[in-house]
Amino acid sequence: MVNVRSMIALYAGKFSKQVLKLINSSGTALPGKLALRIDNNFLDNIEEKCDTVIMVTGTNGKTTTNNLLNHVIGTRTDKILSNLKGANMIQGIATTYVNNTKDHYDYGIFEVDEGTLRSVTRYVKPDYILVSNFFRDQLDRFGEIDNLVEDVYTTIEKLPESTLILNVDDPLVNKFTQLPNKIIKFGLDLDLDEVQNSSLSMKNCPLCEGKLQYSSHVYGHFGNYECDKCGFKRPNPDFVVSNLEEKASSQMITIDYGDEELVFEYPYTGIYNAYNVLGVFTVCKQLGLSDDEIVSAMGDFSFHLGRMEEMEYKGKIIKVILTKNPIGLTQVINMISNDERSKTVVHILNDNPADGEDISWIWDAYTICEREETVLHYYCSGIRAEDIALKKKYDNVPLDKIKINDNFKEIIDTAIEDDVEIVYVLPTYTAVFETRDYIENVVKSN
C-alpha cells in the first residue's frame, strides 16, 4: 500500500537533493532530514524494500567494513541499498533511501553510529548486526564508553531476532554474548605484544570490575583475557585469523573456521584491517557465499573517499588515511612504523564539531614512529596545526623535522615534492574530503 505521507516525504527529499546539486553543496544528510521531518516513520520503507538487512556498528572500521561488505556481496547482486559514504546518523540513512532508485533490494547494508542504533532499529529491524569494537572516541563527550555500550546493549535486547556477529577480542563486545540472540563470534588468535598505551588499554571487567588478565594481546584492549574475579573471558571464536604476514602494501591473512583454513592476500595493511576483513568474512559466510567468492572479491577491493586511498605523483605514492580518534591514529602510526620506505608524514588536525572540538584526544594516541630515520618531515596543518606539532615535539622528534602551516593546500604542495618514496597524509574527519580532492586535482593536473 502506498503511504501518501511517506511519498510526499520521499519527493521532498529528492527535490532537496536537486536543489543541493544546483547550489553545488554535498549536504549528505539534508534530504533525509527533510524527509524525516515530513514523515517520521519514513525509515519503515527501508525494511519493506530490502530482503536482508545488515547493520554494522562499533567505534572504528564501520565505513571500511560497510564498503568491503558491499564489494563482496556486490559480486552476487547489484540490488544493494547502502550508506557507503559514511553518513551513519538517522538522517544520513534516510538520505540513502531518498537517493534509492530501485523497487526492491536483495540487501540493505548500513553502517550505523553506535548512538543512533536505538532510533534506527525502531523502524528497521536488522537480520544481522555486526558489532566490531568500542573505543573511546574523540566525540566521547561524557568521558566514558560505558554508557554507550549499555545503550547499544539494551537496544539489541529488543531485537531478539537479529543474529549478532561479534568481535570477542573486545571485552566490551564480548559482553553481548550474554544476550539470547543467535551469536557468531570472531577474533584474532595472535599475540602481537605491542607497546601498551595505558589510556587505551582496559584493565577492568565489564561485568564485575575485577581485573582482566591478558594471556595474549593484540592492540588497545583487544586480546585473550580472563577476569580474575568472575571468570568472564574471551570465548573461542567461530571464525579466527590465525596468522598475518605484513607486506609493503598488502597482507597475507589466514582465516580458520570449522575444519577449513584459507590463506589469501588482502590489498591493505594494518591489523585493524584484518579485523574488518574477518568481520566481513563472517557475515558473508552466514549469507551463504562460498570461500572462493569472498576471497577473490576481497583480493581486488579498492577503497576511495580517503579512508585508505593511494595516488601516484612523480613516482611516489601519496596515501590518504582518515585519522579520527586515539586508537585509529595509534594504529595508523603503527602501520607507518612498519613501513621501511623513506617517507614524509602530513597531519591535518581540525577541531570542527564533527572532528571533536576537544583536540586533547591526540594525547591519548601513541604517535611515536619507529624507524624515525626514514621520516623526512612531519608537516602539521589544519585549524589546530600547532597542537599536533606540539604532540610531535613531545614524541621527541627533532624540531627541524616539524613544519607548521595551518593552510593545508600549501602544506600538501610542499610535502608532495619531498624526495621520498611515500607521503602519508592523515586528515581528521572534516579535512578528509577536501584534502583528498585537492591531492587528486594536483595529481591529475601534473
Binding site: R136, R141, F142, G143, E144, D146, N147, S198, S199, K203, N204, E209, E357, D358, I359, S360, W361, I362, W363, D364, I383, R384, A385, E386, D387, A389, L390, K393, Y394, L399, I402, I404, D406
Partner: protein, 242 residues
C-alpha cells in the same frame, strides 16, 4: 636536583589526554638537568606519599572514580597534610572534584568526596559545560592567561582563591565566572588540553614550587625553547579569544 612526580591511579584516571601533564612536568625538568622519577600510585602499588614532590591526579569515568575513592580513603589524611605543608599538587576535572567534599555519579546523585579540601561539586540539573575556555589566572604568571577545554557535568562551589577569572567559557559553575581553585600549592582545575603542555608557564610554576620546597633557595627556572608551545597558545587565543 631531583624531583619525584607522583601520578595517582594512572590506570583508572586517564581521560582526555591528561597523562600529557605528567610527560610535560618530566620533560621540562629533564631539559633543565633536573632528575625526575615518575612514580605511579596504583591499586597494587602504594609507594610512600611523603616522598612525592609533585602530585598529579586526573579524571576518569564514574565507575573509575568510585574505585579510586574507595581505595584512596585510607590515604587521604596523608595527602591532606602534604597539601597543608605546601606540596605541589595538580588535580584535573574528576580528580579536582574527588578531593572536595562531594561530587556526582552517572545518575546525578551527590556522593561524598575525599574531603581533603572544603569545596563541593554538585548536580544542578543543568546541561554539561563543554567548550574552549580562557581564564586570567590569579597566580603571578607570565603570560597571565591559561587556555584549555572544559567538559564537566557537575558545578563546583568554593570559597578558595580561584585559579582564574573566566574570560571565555564557563569555569566552576554557572554563577561566579571563576575557574578552579588554588590553596597553597594545590591547584584544582577543569582545564583539559592537556593543561600543562598547553600552558608551560603553569607547569613551570608547579616545578618551581616543588624545587623551593625541597631545595629552598631556587630563584627562577632556566627558560626553555617554547616556540611551538607559544604558537599553540597564541593560536588558541586568536581562534577563541574575544
Amino acid at each position: 636536583m631531583e624531583l619525584n612526580i607522583y601520578h595517582l591511579y594512572p590506570e583508572h584516571l586517564n581521560l582526555y589526554g591528561d597523562l600529557g601533564n605528567v610527560n610535560c612536568l618530566k620533560r621540562r625538568c629533564l631539559e633543565r638537568g633536573i632528575e625526575v622519577n615518575v612514580v605511579n600510585f596504583t591499586d597494587d602499588e602504594k609507594p610512600d606519599l611523603n616522598d612525592g614532590d609533585i602530585f598529579f591526579i586526573g579524571g576518569g569515568s564514574d565507575r573509575a572514580q568510585q574505585l579510586v575513592y574507595k581505595d584512596f580513603l585510607q590515604y587521604k589524611d596523608v595527602l591532606k597534610e602534604l597539601i597543608e605543608e605546601g606540596r605541589a599538587v595538580l588535580a584535573v576535572c574528576g580528580g579536582y572534584q574527588l578531593l572536595g567534599t562531594s561530587f556526582i555519579d552517572k545518575q546525578g546523585n551527590n556522593i561524598p568526596g575525599l574531603s581533603i579540601l572544603d569545596y563541593e561539586s554538585k548536580y544542578t540539573g543543568d546541561k554539561r559545560i563543554i567548550g574552549n575556555i580562557i581564564i586570567e589566572t590569579t597566580l603571578n604568571l607570565e603570560p597571565n592567561k591559561l587556555v584549555g577545554f572544559e567538559n564537566h557535568g557537575a558545578r563546583t562551589y568554593s570559597k578558595y582563591q580561584p585559579l582564574g577569572n573566566v574570560l571565555v567559557g564557563r569555569g566552576n559553575n554557572d554563577d561566579d565566572m571563576k575557574e578552579g581553585i588554588v590553596y597553597k600549592n594545590y591547584i584544582g582545575t577543569y582545564l583539559h588540553g592537556p593543561v600543562l603542555p598547553k600552558n608551560p608557564h603553569l607547569a613551570d610554576h608547579l616545578i618551581l614550587q616543588a624545587l623551593r620546597n625541597k631545595y629552598g633557595d631556587v630563584e627562577s627556572l632556566e627558560p626553555l625553547d617554547d616556540e611551538i608551545e607559544n604558537k599553540a597558545y597564541e593560536k588558541f587565543i586568536k581562534l577563541y579569544g574575544k
